[in-house]
């Protein structure tokens, strides 16, 4: 990783900068240490509370129905349960989402796709596993095509049991996630 990844400078200058030193250390190292330090300060200080307030009140979810829970997710976003009240709206592209709702069975064929989608989401991001299938494989636990241990692949913050859970439980899960973000106990909030 060079400085050109962080600030837009031509690659030639980047290579030149790699040779520079400051306090006997490469410039790049000092640069990154400082940003890390800034992150640490933010992590410790009260400004993180403001960040977290913003983050917890604006979790956009990826519209990605997978199984029975996908239907309930659809209803959860629509008028009867209205997730928009909590500032939680569906987006179609992973680039603009904050939370991935794992709404069903993950198969061998879908896991690579799913992992790709997860990687495309910008940090900080969270994952909610909804339904038995997403948590442990559910009724399909002994299928040849179902992944059982989704928590090994994704840092899941909230598990919502049910087959499928009611939309009210979706809201409950969302509020749990918001509480976790607020208390800094979420798995991916360090960014």
């Amino acid at each position: 990783m060079g400085i050109s990844d962080v600030i837009p400078v031509p690659v030639a200058i980047d290579e030149e900068l790699e040779k520079w030193t400051i306090f006997g250390q490469p410039v790049a190292d000092v640069w990154f240490t400082t940003t890390e330090k800034i992150h640490q300060i933010i992590e410790m200080g009260p400004i993180k509370n403001i960040f977290n307030w913003g983050r917890k009140n604006s979790v956009y979810f990826l519209m990605q129905p997978m199984g029975c829970c996908g239907v309930e997710m659809f209803v959860f976003g629509a008028a009867p349960y209205d997730s928009d009240r909590f500032g939680c709206i569906p987006r179609n592209t992973p680039r603009q989402t904050d939370v991935m709702i794992m709404s069903g069975y993950i198969t061998r064929k879908y896991l690579p796709v799913f992992k790709n989608l997860w990687e495309q989401m910008p940090e900080p991001k969270w994952c909610i596993a909804i339904g038995e299938c997403a948590i442990s494989g559910g009724p399909f636990y002994d299928s040849y095509n179902i992944i059982q241990n989704t928590a090994d692949y994704f840092p899941i913050d909230v598990f919502i049991p049910g087959c499928p859970p009611r939309p009210e439980q979706f809201l409950e899960g969302l509020m749990q996630l918001q509480e976790k973000i607020k208390q800094r106990k979420d798995k991916r909030g360090y960014y």
Partner: protein, 350 residues
């Protein structure tokens, strides 16, 4: 007080160039603030009104029961998001697209009158740069957004974005012409290309004087703003999110925000050109009479914006070929018919 004004006048006389610069900077700061706050309120308002149309509440958890701080939360989140630039994107263009979009709206905001103050029986328009040809200038600057859309779509190296960019360009070309012709029609009737004069000269609203032109202008404006039923460049369900598919975090926030900025400015333009601008009866209450033109302006704008949202919640999206068909085969000839009408009527009244 008098002393301060006197010294300012003195300074203005001594250093006219520097004075103009300072006034420009202050004005720019004010309009940037006004427009951006207005756009934030518009996004919030759209979410609430859309919710109302769909028999739900919209945001109501952040900042009291009206959810007024929802946009603040969204902004904080977007600002602190990871900044992703796709590996194969055209980095320079990708980074500049949201900035160009912001610049476009600021260029419009510089020349558009936001209203007027009514002091001692006279209207003083609130405008930073009072140009002779501001109607044309604003209409042209509004379409710079299309270039930003094209930049964003082209640079993302994404098939959906690419398609969205092409659609946006095709749509812009098809509708910019009838829109321009409508502006000319209005200018002919008003005998001026200055938005301030156009607004002040409207004894009869041009929406009534040239109803055909009004309808065409509204349709062309909705198209220019990229709102349903003409949001093919975003086309959420077909091409994911259109030109901004690859944008995330604050860059996407900027692009998204500029759409609403544009909608706000578009509503102002529509009000000025066709709905009599800030004209309306003066409220005979001290202090309120000063800002009563502003109140009228705001009310008309809100009605226009509410109309946009109403359209969004009740119409189906058109296909891109139908949009361009409509533009070239109907809007353009009809706008020319309207131009003829404006020439006839305008010369008769003159």
């Amino acid at each position: 007080m008098d002393g301060i004004i006197e010294s300012i006048t003195q300074f203005a006389n001594q250093e006219p160039a520097i004075f103009a610069l300072i006034i420009g900077i202050i004005g720019a700061a004010i309009i940037a603030g006004v427009v951006n706050v207005g756009a934030m309120l518009l996004i919030w308002g759209e979410r609430k009104v859309l919710g109302d149309f769909a028999a739900r509440f919209g945001p109501n958890r952040v900042g009291g029961r009206w959810g007024i701080l929802q946009l603040g939360a969204d902004a904080i989140k977007l600002f602190t998001k990871e900044d992703i630039i796709p590996a194969e994107a055209d980095k320079g263009v990708y980074v500049w697209a949201p900035i160009v979009a912001s610049m476009a709206t600021m260029l419009v905001a510089a020349a558009i009158p936001f209203g007027a103050l009514h002091i001692n029986g006279q209207d003083y328009p609130l405008v930073v740069a009072n140009m002779d040809i501001s109607a044309f200038y604003v209409e042209a600057a509004l379409s710079i957004m299309s270039i930003a859309v094209f930049m964003a779509g082209y640079s993302s190296n994404n098939k959906y974005s690419m398609l969205g960019a092409f659609r946006g360009m095709a749509r812009m070309i098809a509708y910019e012409v009838p829109m321009g012709v409508c502006v000319i029609s209005v200018a002919i009737m008003a005998h001026s290309l200055n938005l301030v004069e156009i607004a002040q000269n409207q004894t009869l609203w041009y929406a009534f004087a040239q109803p055909l032109g009004f309808v065409i202008f509204v349709i062309a404006l909705i198209t220019d703003l990229g709102r349903i039923p003409f949001d093919q460049s975003e086309g959420e369900e077909e091409i994911i999110s259109g030109y901004n598919t690859e944008y995330s975090g604050i860059r996407w926030g900027l692009l998204y925000f500029q759409e609403y900025n544009n909608a706000l400015l578009g509503s102002i333009l529509l009000t000025l050109l066709f709905l009599g601008g800030w004209q309306g009866p003066i409220i005979p209450i001290p202090l309120l009479d000063i800002i009563s033109p502003l109140i009228w302006m705001l009310m008309k704008m809100i009605i226009v914006l509410w109309f946009f949202i109403w359209v969004r919640s009740s119409l189906v999206r058109l296909r891109i070929d139908q949009v361009t068909d409509l533009g070239w085969k109907w809007m353009l000839p009809l706008s020319i018919v309207n131009l003829g009408w404006a020439v006839l009527v305008g010369s008769y009244f003159a």
